[in-house]
């Protein structure tokens, strides 16, 4: 394990002339060269000379006293389901290989406007449908902490790039835990924002009502910095909330004596005993610091996983109907229109994506709709209301993952085992509330994480709590190797 400085410290040091952004860019490129053949975190990489050129530009502007952005010289990796006009966007699928978007996602525009340097596009489960980053058309990503294991998914490429130092911060997306599970598996951090706080314009959709582009980093303060830059109202996204001027980075320190943490039993039980032990031990420490820790029960949460997957499959079936071989790269051969579409989709989609589309069509079809999709949306309402009720009183502490990072291939033969990896994370997506994942320990060299859920637009409280936890554990800015 090694320690590196946070992105916010780097920006400060670049500005003060203590650190050279060009040298830093070379360090990051060196890490990518050293690790990528083994990890496969990136699908596409920016040309090294362009990365260095961008860093040189930042350096020149600082030296000449010009104003530079809040992310000046910070290297960022971007999940490959977030559109960029300068690098291909494949969503990990043959269907989109080698699609180049005509525009940048709003979040990418906002990062670049603050002088961040995009180093590449990261690997993911195809169309973000997976929990291990093994289901990519571009091969699996491996966990830098143990190369025989997965980094979690679907934002596994982003998490892995952070875990070996291939970028300072990263953009992931979180539909049912896709940014938080990889954070827990790689000793990095991730914050799934309140639904609507971050623009989804330019995010290739999987489950619209559930997903949010999420900042990923190696420390909570870096998450806050990134969220402040990328968050806020965007007229290009009709679900964007009219919120502006975020300042979670300067969230005041937490008065631990006034902190109330609720452990929802259904979000804490059932994990591997090693994970459970780490979870309760950090809560005990919080308790000894003066926090009030109480246990509550929300029985409906035991139905969150089937409700989530029913909704996600249904939305996927609708969203992925657009891939008909006409607008996007993968194409069939038949001269008959309907066959041409079916062939295009056969050639372009992987097995898991096909399965989820078929399940979505099933859940939405006449005769099954009420028993599946409508039932799931009703259960979702009850879960949302319950979570809002609890988060009005306290911050929820929950497991981030039920098991330690599995070995490659270990979870692929059984879909239900794969889906069960999201059992604790889907709840925040169903409820729309923010959730922070961060490391709390290691077992045999493998990271263990925790997640915290707060009420809508309470990202600042999560940042304050996350910073306190980092002080207690000392786990901030750690990388493998």
């Amino acid at each position: 394990m090694r320690r590196v400085r946070g992105a916010w410290e780097l920006v400060r040091d670049f500005r003060e002339g203590v650190e050279d952004p060009v040298e830093h860019a070379y360090k990051v490129l060196g890490a990518i060269r050293a690790w990528e053949p083994r990890v496969n975190a990136f699908i596409s990489l920016e040309a090294p000379e362009l990365v260095v050129e961008a860093a040189e530009s930042v350096k020149r502007r600082i030296e000449s006293g010009e104003r530079v952005g809040r992310l000046a010289g910070v290297t960022v990796s971007v999940k490959d389901n977030i559109c960029t006009s300068f690098l291909p966007t494949t969503a990990g699928s043959r269907m989109l290989d080698p699609y180049i978007s005509p525009f940048n996602a709003t979040v990418v525009e906002r990062l670049m406007a603050e002088d961040a340097i995009v180093v590449g596009k990261t690997n993911l489960d195809e169309f973000a449908m997976g929990s291990t980053t093994e289901l990519s058309a571009f091969g699996p990503t491996r966990n830098p902490w143990d190369l025989s294991r997965v980094p979690g998914g679907s934002s596994g490429g982003s998490a892995a790039s952070l875990a070996y130092g291939g970028s300072d911060v990263s953009l992931g997306s979180d539909t049912g835990g896709s940014a938080r599970l990889p954070a827990a598996y790689t000793a990095t951090t991730s914050l799934k924002p309140t639904y609507g706080l971050v623009s989804r314009y330019g995010l290739i959709p999987y489950g619209n009502s559930l997903e949010q582009i999420s900042p990923m980093a190696r420390s909570v303060r870096d998450l806050a910095l990134l969220l402040d830059v990328m968050g806020g109202w965007d007229p290009m996204d009709s679900t964007s909330l009219k919120v502006g001027g975020l300042d979670t980075f300067n969230s005041p320190p937490l008065d631990v004596g006034k902190l109330k943490v609720c452990v929802v039993r259904e979000m804490a039980e059932g994990a591997d005993p090693i994970i459970e032990s780490a979870f309760w031990s950090i809560l005990e420490r919080l308790g000894s610091e003066g926090a009030e820790v109480v246990e509550v029960s929300v029985p409906i949460i035991s139905k969150a996983l089937p409700a989530y997957y029913t909704i996600a499959f249904s939305e996927a079936a609708s969203n992925l109907a657009r891939y008909d071989g006409v607008l996007y790269p993968a194409k069939g051969f038949s001269g008959v229109w309907e066959e041409f579409i079916a062939e295009s989709r056969m050639r372009g989609f992987g097995r898991e994506v096909k399965k989820r589309i078929l399940m979505g069509v099933y859940a939405l079809s006449e005769g099954y709709r009420d028993e599946y999709y409508i039932a799931a949306t009703k259960v979702r309402r009850v879960i949302r209301d319950e979570i809002l009720r609890v988060t009005r009183k306290c911050i929820i502490a929950a497991q981030a993952a039920p098991i330690l990072p599995p070995r490659l291939g270990e979870r692929l033969d059984d879909p239900l085992k794969l889906y069960a990896m999201d059992v604790y994370t889907v709840i925040a997506n169903l409820a729309g509330v923010p959730a922070l994942a961060q490391p709390i320990g290691f077992h045999s060299g493998l990271p263990i994480g925790i997640q915290w859920l707060a009420g809508p637009l309470e990202e600042g409280r999560l940042v304050s709590l996350g910073t306190l936890i980092e002080e207690l554990t000392g786990l901030s800015g750690v990388i493998a190797g």
Partner: protein
């Protein structure tokens, strides 16, 4: 595709046709097996919803009071696009594109 070992073969064929997805024989067999197990797993949600006297929730902040102030009124007017994006309007680029071509 092969029917061996799959009780829901007819259903799979119907779904493939509705979703406009061709499946190879090997894929069909594997997906058919998973389909049965997954449908069984998802069925729990139907049982859980029985007796729930609530409306479906399609959008997290549909009518939840405290979040209403953060939600802008939105209108859609395809004819106005793509000449300029107006505040409060939803952009529908593919429709606007067609109109432009026409």
């Amino acid at each position: 595709m092969s029917r061996e070992g799959c009780k829901q073969w007819g259903l799979l064929e119907k779904l493939s046709s509705l979703a406009k997805i061709k499946l190879s024989e090997e894929e069909g067999e594997a997906i058919c097996r998973d389909l049965e197990r997954t449908a069984e797993f998802l069925r729990a949600v139907g049982e859980a919803a029985r007796g729930l006297e609530v409306e479906p929730l399609y959008y997290p902040w549909d009518e939840w009071g405290p979040m209403r102030e953060y939600i802008k009124e939105r209108r859609v007017d395809v004819r106005e696009l793509p000449a300029g994006l107006k505040e409060g309007f939803i952009r529908v680029p593919w429709r606007a594109g067609r109109l432009e071509e026409g």
